[in-house]
Symmetry: C2
Subunit: 327 residues, 2 copies
């Protein structure tokens, strides 16, 4: 049993605190995808909820623990999904929420953050600049900084996805998890490795934003100068050391996939599963597409982690014949 | 309390027999839709399961009751969704399943029925011809005919959607239900009227396939010569008298919507909820679009009942700029 920062008892406590609208999400075999992938495929769908990603599992747990404390204001940096989730959870509990995001973040994500009543501050530069600015704001104003993947509540919340996977009626051979900051990967990985250690945990990251994967492979923090991927939800450059330590304990592998595989994955999910997903949510399918032999005959489950995507960009990626038949 | 053919105790029994993969489906507020509709909107999502529609609730219940009986073969007529569901449930229980469908039925539905191992027989003409042929086959071969909406199990299975609605934490003012043969409308309507009688039950049918709505309005069976709508899942012409009797007891209203409103509803669900749906599943949104004043300020829940749609047709309807921004 891996000794990560996480504790399954706390993860179970998180599950009791999270609004049920985010829990017990659909988990189902998608046979229509299988001829294209050469393996049995199940989908864990995290998009059918008020914020269209799994991130509210973490923000629900985090904000529930702030209830009764003196902290009535929180700030986070976000590529869009945790910001939206924190805005949702904070609104429900009467917290003042500030979200810092890159000016180049996905527009619908920013629109939703504003619509949910959060203060949105945009910065030039990428997500790492937003992280710096959020930390500076927290320091200046003396408010609670929420750091995705570093704050244990964000990992414990994400880990409740893992509880739902291991409690499923059907057993899986492999769990495919999008890897960004690492909250989802370490959270789900912790639960899977503690409760069903025989199940393989494979993290998937874009080749264009490989910092955490390179770090995992070299067993030390590796940062990159740039992050160049359409998968905005996982486009970090500076892994958090404590999160890497956890990832080293729970991941069986970390793989990198090409942008065209991510697009092909989005297209398969649209054409054969009827699912509109954001690029990060197609990473698992992309990994299978790039290495069919590895997964042949196995039963994989992929966490479809979000669907917040700009319609125009989606059309550009998945088009020009977005719903046309493809080989 | 209405005295329909249905009994809530049996509906609760159905829920215990249905594979959990079809139960406790997502139910969530979709605030991003609300500025466009002028009312609070919740979605009950019946597409995230192995057959991408609610129909397996009925076929699960029906086939579970055949276990141990001498009937090892079943036949049904289908526009595609109940056929797919019966094929899924029958395969699981070792039944021989035959599905009769119109040659003009939605192609992906027919493909999935075959892929699930059912025998598929295609007939010329529309769904009513398929119903006649299925009945003839049952008679000829002495096998069990499954008649959607007439067979109580199909209504009781669909009615479990209603149980999930009335047990939700949040209360609704209005439930919007696609109206075709009537299984979903009478099933959900029965439960809502028995357990939360103050909640309004509104059935929605396409103007081009209005037989059941005209029947409800005139309180007698009205058939039509044609059914002309893209909403293939609800395109019947010959209402079943017993189902109409139930509908008269549970529906507060039955409304007809134009084809362009159905398309506009599909587009809204795609652009603002990230959901690909089949036309029948957009009927509720279409009803709000056609009569915003009626729903202003209310909280409506719409059952998004299926997502089995031909990619090409979807593109044709929702295109030409399928993911472009619209006013």
């Amino acid at each position: 049993m891996p000794v990560t920062r996480l504790d399954t008892a706390w993860i179970r406590a998180a599950r009791r605190a999270i609004d049920p609208v985010f829990l017990d999400t659909p988990l189902y075999r998608c046979e229509a995808l299988e001829p294209r992938l050469g393996c049995a495929v199940s989908i864990k769908l995290e998009t059918a909820n008020p914020v269209r990603s799994f991130k509210a599992r973490g923000t629900e747990w985090l904000t529930s623990r702030l209830a009764g404390s003196a902290s009535r204001a929180v700030v986070c940096a976000s590529a869009g999904n945790i910001g939206q989730a924190l805005a949702w959870s904070g609104r429900r509990r009467g917290l003042d929420v500030t979200v810092v995001a890159s000016r180049s973040a996905t527009r619908v994500k920013l629109d939703r953050i504003r619509a949910l009543g959060a203060v949105l501050e945009l910065v030039d530069g990428d997500h790492e600049r937003a992280r710096e600015r959020a930390a500076a704001l927290a320091l200046r104003d003396g408010i609670r900084l929420v750091e995705d993947s570093l704050d244990l509540e964000t990992c414990e919340g994400a880990a409740t996805v893992g509880l739902e996977l291991v409690e499923a009626a059907e057993a899986f051979d492999t769990v495919l998890i999008a890897l960004g900051g690492g909250a989802l990967a370490t959270g789900v990985g912790h639960v899977v490795k503690e409760l069903t250690p025989g199940v393989e945990v494979i993290c998937v990251q874009p080749l264009g934003a490989p910092a955490m994967t390179l770090s995992w492979r070299q067993r030390r923090v590796v940062t990159t100068d740039t992050a160049d991927t359409i998968a905005d939800g996982v486009a970090g450059r500076c892994p958090v050391p404590a999160v890497l330590d956890d990832l080293l304990l729970v991941a069986d592998d970390a793989v990198l996939v090409r942008e065209e595989s991510i697009v092909a994955g989005m297209r398969l999910l649209l054409d054969h599963a009827g699912l509109v997903v954001e690029p990060s949510a197609a990473l698992g399918i992309a990994a299978v597409l790039e290495d069919r032999d590895r997964f042949a005959g196995r039963h994989v489950v992929t966490v479809v982690c979000g669907s917040n995507v700009d319609p125009d960009a989606y059309h550009r990626w998945v088009g020009p014949a977005p719903f046309g038949h493809r080989p």
